[in-house]
Symmetry: D2
Subunit: 286 residues, 4 copies
C-alpha cells in the first residue's frame, strides 16, 4: 500500500529563497520529499510549484501544516495555494449525453486500480447511458433539459452534487451549456472535453466544419469551463493526422479516440493536483 | 439500420484489368460499390484489394458470388481471397492476465455500439479479471498455466474457442507464450499487443529496458502471432515522446494508453476485414 | 537517369469505367503505368486521379495525348485536368522578408538533387536575404512596398515572374498581403506558409496569441493563397506539443522548424503535381 | 545584443540544499539567474542541473567562479561539472559523405543568425560535398578512407580538428565508423545521426530493413558516439508514420527530413550546454 502523502500546489509572486524554504518546511517536520516540481514564469516573475511529500506519522495535524505554509506564502491578491492529503480520495461526477466512449473509459480507469478516484455519480440529459453507469455500479440520474426548466434542473443537479460530496465535474461529451451560476459553483473544477481543436472550430459541429475546411489534422482539447463558451484554461490537447479520404464519420470515429485520451490525461492531472490555473492559463506539472 | 454489405479481401499477382473486372462483377449483379481500396506493390508486381458493396436483394446466394470471384482470381500459389458478409457478426475471444486496461477498452467498444463485434469469451491465466468480464456479460474462464500442464490447457482452450464459435483471438496483455500448435490453429487470426516498440525491445520487460537505454520515445506494436516470438506481421504501431523525468512507472502508465489505442485500431482493422497478410507484412486498407 | 514520364492530374464527376478507360488509354499507346492514385468522394460522387506513366518513344506528340484525354474527360463545369511532362522542370519564385530559414531549406533542396525543381528568383520586401539567395546563385530583387506604391510594385513583380518564366510562387514567410489582382494571376499557384495552426490563430502574431491562450500544441499550415486572407485550400499541416515552460521565443523557434517541414512537403506535392484543388479543399496524392 | 551569460552544467550525488547553495552563489556575486533547470533521479539519488545567469561586470574572473563551484560540488567519482561562457562561441566540425541534406541544414542555421555557433570545417570521405561547404564559406577536406589508410587518415583528421580549434564533431550521415582512438579524443563530443530508429534497426540499411519488416513507423536517433557501435547515449529521437504504400525510396526521403530535424535539435541542445551524460543516458534540459 502506498504511504500517506501530502501535496502542496501553489503559485505566488516570485520571492528569493521560496523553494528552499518550502523544502526546509517539509524536512523540519520529518517529511520525505517525493517530488518537487517548480516553474518560474520569467516574463511576469511568478512562481508555481507542486511539492509532494510522505508525511511522518508524528508530523502533526494538517492544520499545523496549513499554518506553516501560510507563513511562507502570505495571502495576497496574486497568490493561491492548497494542501491535499492522499488519504482523501476525490470524488468525480460525470455528465454525459448519448455517446458512452468517454464515460466507459473514465469508469474503467476508476475501477481497474489505475486511478485513486471515485466516480459515484453519472448525470445524463438523456436516459441512454443508464446501462453504462450501472455496469460500474455508479448512480445514474437523467435530466431532460429545456430552456424552460434549465434553471430548476441545474439547481437539482447542484443539490445532487453536494449530497454526493462531489469534488469536481467532468463533462464527457455533455451536450448542454452550463449556466454562469452553475459554473461559479465549481470554479476551475469543471472539465470539458471539446471534440475539436480549440480554438480552431468552436461550436457544435466541429468535425463537419473540419471536413469542409479540408484540414489535414484534427484534435481535441480539454479545458476548464468558464462562463464564456470554449475559452477556459486549456489543460491538455492532442491531434491526429487526417486526409481527404476521411469522411465526416471517419473524423468522428478517429476524433473520439483522441477525445478519450485527452480527457483521461486531463482528469488524471486534475485529481492528482497537477494543474495550477493562473491568468486564464494552466501550468501542468505532469 | 445499415444494409447488408459484402466484402472481398484479396491479393494476387497483378494482371491487367483485374480492377475493372472486379467492379464489373459487382455491377453486373446489381450491387452498389461502397468502397474500393487497391494497392499495387510495384516492386513485386502484386495486387491487393478490398472491395465492399451493398448486395442487391436478388443478387443470388453467396455461393454464386464465390464462383464469380474464383473465376477472376484463380487458385494459385501466391493468391488468396475471402468473401465476408456484414450479416455475420464476428466473434472475438480476449486472452488477458491481470491488467484490465485493454480488456475494458475492447469490451466497452463492443457494447457501446461503436463496433459490430461480439466478445462473448474472456480467458485469463489468473482469476483477477473475472469481475471485468462479468461487468460486460462475458464468460470468463481462468487457466492456471505451468510448463507441465500447458499442452492440456491449450487443448481445452482451443476446444472452448470452437464451442463458442470464436473467429479470432486477441492477446490483450496475456503473459503466456502460445505453442506452435495453438498458433497454427488460428493463422493470422491471433492478434497480440506488444508493450514496447517492435522490433526495438523484444522480451518481457521492455519499459525497464527502454528506461535503461534512455530512449526519448516509447511505443506499442500490434502484430499477428506467428510461431517465432514477436516477429509476426505488424498491423499497427504508435509512439509517445518521453524524457529523462519519466520513471519506469511513468513509462508503464503512458505506454498502457498507447497500447490500448494501438490494439483497438488493429482489432477494428482486423474484424472489418481491412488487413491482408502477405510475405510476412500487412497491407492495411484503413 | 530517370526516363521521361507523363502525369495526368484530373477530377470530374464520377462516371462508370473511367479508371479502366484511363489505364487502357496508356496501355494502348505503349506506355507503362508508374503509379495510379485515385479517390472517389462518395458524398458528392466525384472522381479524382493522378496517373503517371513512362511514355514510349513512339507514343506520339503530347497534343495527341491531350486529345485522347479530352475524349475521356469532356469539358464541363465541374471537371478539370492537366497533363505534364517530366522533361519540363518547373520553376519556382520564392517571396520572403527577413527570416531565411524557409528560404535556405527550399534552395538547398533544389540544389542538392533532392528535387527536380528550379529556383531562379527570390523576391524580398527587405534587402536582408540577398546573401542567402546569392549563396545558391538565385537572382534577388528587393521591393520596398508601401500602401502607396503597392500597385506599381506588384505590376513589376508580375512582369519579373513572366520574364523569368515562373510557374508558381512560394511565400516563405513573406510579410505582405498580395492584392486580388496578383492572386488571380496565379490561381492555385501561390503557396503560403502560415506560422500558426489554421484556422486557429489567423493574423500576424499567432505565437504570441498561442502563448496567451495557453495552448499545448502549436502548428503550421501551408495553403494556396486566395483573395480572402488565410482561407485558401490547405495543402499540409503539422504540429508540435508545447507546454507552459515555453516562452514566446521558444514557440517561435520551435514553430520555425514545423513551418520549414510543412512548407517543404507542400512544395514537393505541388510541383510533383500531387495536389487537386476542388471546392476549396485539396486532394493530395502523396 | 544579448548580454554575457554563464552556464553551469553539473551532476552529482544528491545532497540537501544543493539547489539553494548554487543560486545563492550566483546572487552573492551579483549575477541574475536567467534559468535554473534541475532534475533529481529519485531511483539513484542523483542531482542534475543547468544554471544560466547573466554575469555582473564586476563579478570577477571565471577562475574565481570555478573555485566557488568547486567548493559546492567537490570532486568525487560520480560528479562532474563545467562552466561555460556565452562570449566563447563554440566551433563545430561536420563530417559527411554524399548526402548534403543534413549538412545544408546545419550550415544554414549557423549562418542565418539562428545559432551562435561556428561551422568552419567540413570533412568528407568523398569529394561531392565540396560545393555545399563552399556555399557557406566552410573549409572542405576530403579523406578517401580505406581499411589500410584509416589509422593515418584519422590522425590527420584529429590534427585538423585541433588546428581549427574544433569543440565538437557532428557526423551528418558520415558513412565511416570511427576508431576507438578517435572516439576517445572527443568523449561525449561526437554526435551521430542514425538513419533509423535506435535500437530498432542497427546497421547500414535500416530503411530497407524497415520496409521488409513492414513497420508502420520510421524514425531517427541522434546519439553520442561511443566505442561500441550505435549504443551511445541518445540525445533526441523522432518518428514518422508510414504504411504499405511507401517504397524504400519513400522511406529514405521521409526519413531524411526526420533525420535533419532530430540532428538539428540535438546539436542545439549540445552546443547550448543542455545535455548531461551520466551512466550511458542523457538528461536534456530543453
Amino acid at each position: 500500500m502506498k504511504p500517506r502523502s501530502v501535496i502542496l500546489l501553489a503559485h505566488c509572486p516570485l520571492r528569493p529563497g521560496i523553494a528552499a524554504r518550502l523544502t526546509e518546511l517539509v524536512h523540519s517536520r520529518g517529511g520525505t520529499i517525493l517530488s518537487h516540481d517548480q516553474y518560474v514564469d520569467a516574463e511576469i516573475h511568478h512562481y508555481y510549484t507542486r511539492l509532494e511529500w510522505e508525511a511522518a506519522a508524528a508530523s502533526g495535524g494538517s492544520e499545523e501544516a496549513r499554518d506553516a505554509v501560510a507563513s511562507l506564502i502570505p495571502a495576497e491578491a496574486d497568490a493561491e495555494w492548497s494542501l491535499s492529503d492522499s488519504s482523501e480520495v476525490p470524488r468525480m461526477a460525470i455528465f454525459a449525453s448519448k455517446d458512452p466512449a468517454c464515460l466507459y473509459d473514465l469508469l474503467a480507469r476508476c475501477h481497474s486500480g489505475e486511478w485513486a478516484l471515485e466516480a459515484p455519480l453519472v448525470i445524463g440529459n438523456h436516459p441512454e447511458l443508464a446501462e453504462a453507469a450501472a455496469r460500474f455500479g455508479a448512480e445514474f440520474q437523467a435530466f431532460s433539459i429545456t430552456d424552460e426548466n434549465r434553471k430548476g434542473a441545474e439547481a437539482r443537479q447542484l443539490e445532487l452534487l453536494r449530497a454526493r460530496r462531489i469534488d469536481f465535474v467532468v463533462l464527457a461529451r455533455y451536450m448542454q451549456i452550463l449556466s454562469g451560476d452553475f459554473v461559479r459553483a465549481y470554479p476551475n473544477r469543471i472539465l470539458n472535453i471539446h471534440h475539436g481543436f480549440l480554438p480552431a472550430f468552436p461550436g457544435s459541429r466541429p468535425y463537419r466544419a473540419a471536413r469542409e475546411r479540408g484540414v489535414k489534422i484534427i484534435g481535441a482539447s480539454c479545458h476548464y469551463v468558464t462562463e464564456e463558451l470554449d475559452t477556459g484554461p486549456i489543460i491538455e490537447q492532442d491531434i491526429l493526422r487526417v486526409g481527404h479520404r476521411h469522411s465526416v464519420e471517419d473524423l468522428v470515429r478517429l476524433g473520439r479516440d483522441v477525445e478519450k485520451v485527452v480527457l483521461a490525461r486531463a482528469v488524471r492531472c486534475h485529481f492528482q493536483r497537477r494543474v495550477v490555473v493562473h491568468r486564464g492559463r494552466t501550468v501542468v506539472f505532469d
